[in-house]
């Protein structure tokens, strides 16, 4: 009975919100896009907004993601670890996962470096690479990826990339004119027309990749508990 009433109340609230939403379209979209293109000089207006005109928002977005990674590591440290002696291997999934993870590395480089010319960007690219690596870990060799994470000091490098990202972003907030002069000198639609935006995308992508890999690694380690 309680459940029935709660469902009725939720449906009532949602139906009432149908009447509250203002569905008039924005009338100056073309003018906004033209202003952004003239100011930032890159084809992808969405990248231009979140890495140039509203970059103050993105600083805290990156900080929030890093905080989530630190929180997951910190809380899971005291939970018991599932000991993994050997992994059941199916040869077909092994070979396909190697192929897919290699493809995901190529896709990462393309999505991140061309994020300001075509759909893409740092966040999407990082998740693509991390899902490729985690797929390899689950279906082929978990211990190898875990050793790689420790051996190449992925976390330390990602923390350094996080610091560089925040530094560049704060620099862009307070003296962005210099960067805008660089990008105005380049031809529209080339790789370097975004000034530091490809570099920012690369650093954010690496941070997102390392963070999501570390988090899924921790979850896989403790999978016997659920």
């Amino acid at each position: 009975m309680k459940k029935f009433f709660s469902v009725i109340i939720i449906v009532y609230i949602i139906i009432m919100s149908f009447f509250l939403i203002d569905l008039e379209k924005a009338d100056n979209t073309n003018m906004n896009i033209e202003n952004i293109i003239l100011r930032v000089n890159i084809p992808n207006t969405i990248t231009a907004i979140y890495l140039e005109t509203r970059i103050y928002d993105t600083i805290f977005e990156v900080v929030l993601f890093s905080l989530a990674v630190v929180g997951v590591n910190f809380i899971l440290k005291n939970e018991k670890v599932h000991s993994l002696k050997k992994q059941t291997l199916i040869s077909a999934s092994h070979i396909y996962s190697i192929f897919l993870s290699a493809t995901s590395i190529t896709l990462f480089v393309y999505i991140v470096l061309y994020g300001h010319l075509s759909p893409g960007g740092g966040f999407g690219g990082g998740v693509v690479l991390a899902s490729g690596i985690v797929l390899y870990a689950i279906s082929a060799n978990y211990n190898k990826t875990n050793n790689t994470l420790i051996k190449y000091k992925i976390e330390e490098i990602s923390n350094i990339s996080f610091l560089i990202t925040v530094t560049i972003m704060i620099y862009t907030v307070f003296s962005g004119d210099f960067l805008r002069e660089i990008s105005q000198g380049q031809e529209f639609g080339t790789l370097f027309s975004g000034a530091l935006i490809p570099l920012l995308n690369l650093l954010i992508g690496f941070k997102v990749f390392a963070g999501s890999w570390k988090m899924s690694n921790d979850f896989v380690k403790r999978r016997g508990t659920l």
Partner: protein
């Protein structure tokens, strides 16, 4: 009907489905999955709002700007923050679920409440 309006109504319906699942499911993991549905529907809502002015993606290929039926880029850029917040929220709530299961060996909210009440009485 404008395709943007259609997407907005679909997103409201999926918001209701996720919210109902979050309220009436007693299992913690199912509650978290419903939370994921709600977050995705919010993203869909913003995409629908941005598609009201047109459905062409706002990626301009040639420099003398030609006016067209472009989608509004501002809501799409804002919702990137929302996606990252949703991701962080899901990860942290899963971690707390793992902690609860290790302590009490159940994921049912009703039995968890009973356990907490018994602990408070002692």
């Amino acid at each position: 009907m404008n395709p943007g309006e259609f997407v907005v109504y679909i997103s409201l319906a999926s918001f209701a489905i996720g919210f109902i699942g979050m309220v009436i499911n007693p299992n913690m993991i199912k509650k978290i999955i419903s939370l994921g549905v709600v977050e995705t529907s919010v993203t869909l809502f913003y995409v629908g709002i941005s598609a009201l002015s047109g459905t062409v993606p706002p990626i301009i290929t040639s420099i003398p700007f030609v006016e067209g039926q472009y989608a509004d880029p501002v809501p799409q850029a804002v919702i990137i923050t929302g996606i990252v917040i949703g991701f962080a929220l899901l990860c942290l709530s899963l971690v707390f679920t793992i902690m609860l299961y290790n302590r009490y060996h159940t994921l049912d909210v009703r039995s968890l409440e009973e356990i907490f009440q018994r602990e408070n009485e002692h």
